[in-house]
């Protein structure tokens, strides 16, 4: 007898419906799976057979053939265990086959028949809803994730036995308890005022957050670069529901959702170690999985000690930074992951960290410094609009008064500036390619329209272009940053002071100071 169970697979971050067909026919007893499954799928046969027996059902002593359709797409993972088991049970009349017509089923099986969570349930649930299915049977740990789709009736099942019971119309199992949120770190959330002094850098952080600009902080060790970066996500606006859905999808595919977790609420903050490989950063694997740039989508990607990163990893960053999307081609498939993140990078001015310090001498020789700085390639640096130098704070700043709530104020200013940008984006009906409406993504075509400068500002820019030898791209970047600064100030026209501040972030501080080296073109 033939039975059909619907399940799902994931390609990139898009789900698709997989039809699991189980045929039980007379002949020599055997159990085979066809349909381009990976080794986890093929090994699933032994899990399925044991789970069926240990759940008190009969595994047929017949020829069992399972087909996963469409047969030309590679299927991976253990998530087909549960649909295959139900297919075998339906084909042998141990489950009512009609109950399986309009639901999608996914889950890994343990040998005792209990279910285990699987990756990528959210995109598969989306695909199921799109295909017109009405319900989804998942392990309890995946249930909240599946409920994010809304249109599906989510049926959590803790075991094969309860799956059979639920399909016969019984009560579903309880949701697994959502993972307890992390223990509160001392009650008070991280605040910008935790970083003493560095008002200049905080301002730069605010500008970067307001306009979606990338940020580079240069300064000696211990002045607060890492602390500032960690506080960036908190001054960004909340994720919209649409954004939360896509962020959750990416994390679901990567298997990073907390046990029993639902939609991701907070903007991601990813800080990969500097030994990360190019594949780890942009994504990879024979069936490509999202890398750090995609895990940081709609959030912050923090690269601490930028020159320490592998050269090929940094070069690989160029496409995702520029396009907000990364394309990975493998022999079997080409997939594309979104990667629209705020890049925040930090570095020392030289290997010893003391270059430019007013009192402590730098012990690095010029060639050493040049080699250090040259690790960060010009093209990558060129894509960072806001660069800021951090110095060692004075004692008065360190010992400064009580902790304040700087984050709230910064966040309110950022939100206001973002609202201005949103309204402006709605009035110019340019296709933004799905990007957030931020100044950093302003198209060159509308730049002159949007960045209206007063005569004074215009003359400042004219002088800068001549004196600093700005490239066309750099010029446009300065305009975008100037727009953001004006938006933060609530100004309609861009004034000289806005342009000057933008130029200051451009003509970066520490990097051109390498002794003996040619000053970098910016």
């Amino acid at each position: 007898m033939l039975a059909r169970v619907l399940s799902g697979g994931v390609s990139g971050i898009d789900g698709y419906v997989v039809r699991v067909e189980a045929d039980v026919s007379r002949g020599l007893p055997s159990f085979s799976t066809v349909g381009l499954g990976d080794s986890a799928v093929r090994e699933g046969r032994d899990r399925v057979a044991s789970a069926i027996r240990n759940s008190g059902f009969k595994f047929p002593m017949e020829r069992v053939t399972v087909n996963l359709a469409p047969a030309d797409v590679r299927k991976e993972g253990a998530g087909f265990d549960l649909p295959i088991a139900l297919g075998v049970l339906a084909a042998t009349g141990q489950v009512e086959a009609r109950a399986l017509e309009r639901v999608a089923v996914m889950g890994e099986l343990a040998l005792d028949g209990s279910t285990r969570r699987v990756r990528g349930v959210l995109p598969m649930a989306v695909a199921a809803a799109r295909a017109g299915l009405t319900g989804i049977v998942v392990p309890p740990a995946n249930a909240r994730e599946a409920s994010a789709v809304g249109r599906l009736n989510v049926l959590p099942v803790a075991s094969l036995k309860s799956a059979v019971r639920v399909l016969a119309g019984g009560e579903p199992d309880a949701l697994s308890e959502g993972s307890r949120s992390r223990p509160d770190p001392g009650g008070r959330p991280e605040d910008l005022s935790d970083v003493r002094g560095q008002e200049h850098a905080k301002r730069a952080l605010e500008v970067a957050a307001a306009g979606g600009h990338n940020l580079l902080m240069v300064g000696p060790p211990g002045v607060g670069k890492t602390m500032l970066a960690r506080r960036m996500a908190a001054i960004l606006p909340d994720l919209t529901e649409e954004e939360a859905l896509i962020v959750t999808t990416i994390h679901s595919v990567a298997g990073l959702l907390p046990e029993g977790g639902g939609l991701v609420a907070a903007r991601p903050f990813r800080a990969p170690h500097h030994t990360v490989s190019a594949a780890g950063l942009i994504g990879g694997g024979s069936v490509p999985r999202p890398g750090e740039v995609s895990l940081a989508h709609k959030g912050v990607l923090f690269l601490d000690e930028l020159p320490e990163f592998r050269r090929d990893a940094l070069e690989a960053l160029r496409q995702p930074v520029e396009e907000g999307r990364v394309t990975i081609t493998r022999s079997m498939s080409t997939v594309s992951f979104p990667s629209e993140f705020a890049l925040v990078a930090s570095m020392n001015p030289c290997p010893c960290g003391n270059l430019g310090h007013p009192r402590v001498p730098c012990r690095c020789t010029p060639p050493v410094i040049r080699r250090y700085l040259s690790k960060v390639s010009g093209p990558l640096l060129d894509r960072i609009d806001v660069r800021v130098s951090l110095g060692t704070p004075a004692f008065e700043e360190l010992a400064g008064g009580p902790a304040r709530d700087d984050t709230r104020g910064a966040r309110e200013r950022v939100l206001a500036a973002r609202r201005v940008q949103e309204e402006r984006a709605q009035s110019t009906d340019l296709d933004r390619g799905g990007f957030a409406p931020v100044n950093a993504r302003l198209h060159v075509a509308v730049l002159d329209d949007v960045v209206r400068m007063n005569p004074e500002a215009r003359s400042v820019v004219r002088g800068a272009v001549r004196k600093l030898d700005l490239s066309a791209r750099s010029y446009h970047k300065v305009l975008r940053v100037a727009r953001t600064i004006a938006d933060l100030a609530g100004a309609g026209a861009v004034a000289a002071e806005h342009v000057s501040e933008a130029l200051q972030y451009r003509s970066d501080p520490g990097l051109s100071r390498a002794p003996g080296g040619r000053p970098r073109r910016s």
Partner: protein, 125 residues
């Protein structure tokens, strides 16, 4: 008693045991392309291919452990031959192992019947 005689004795014991359980013996020592099946029986419309294993001592492990992957493959091959020869390919079938253990120094025989011991794909069932 030689090993060969012991094997033949075990096969007779196994056949008698299966008949007691209501199986009809269709063939013994069936061979196809030099692959041999000890007993072929039929029960409830199902063809049962039986491998008989005999041990006089536990020292070499239990008899069922002596049916390895290669042995399974040979049995399955012969079974396909048998089913094709008799036009039975559409009939349900099964692979069993009957183990005959000689215990207490030859004073007692213990027969154990493992129903559905393995599948045609050479994996445990």
């Amino acid at each position: 008693m030689s090993t060969r005689q012991l094997g033949e004795l075990a096969e007779r014991v196994a056949a008698a045991f299966l008949q007691m359980k209501g199986y009809a013996i269709l063939a013994t020592n069936y061979s196809f392309h030099r692959h041999e099946i000890d007993i072929i029986a039929e029960a409830q419309g199902r063809i049962v291919f039986v491998e008989v294993k005999c041990r006089s001592s536990r020292a070499y492990g239990s008899p069922r452990e002596a049916v390895g992957r290669e042995k399974m493959r040979r049995i399955v091959h012969a079974a396909r031959g048998f089913l094709a020869e008799r036009n039975l390919s559409d009939t349900s079938s099964r692979f069993d192992v009957v183990e005959v253990r000689i215990e207490r120094g030859g004073l007692s025989l213990v027969v154990e019947h493992i129903v559905g011991a393995f599948g045609a794909d050479g994996r445990g069932w």
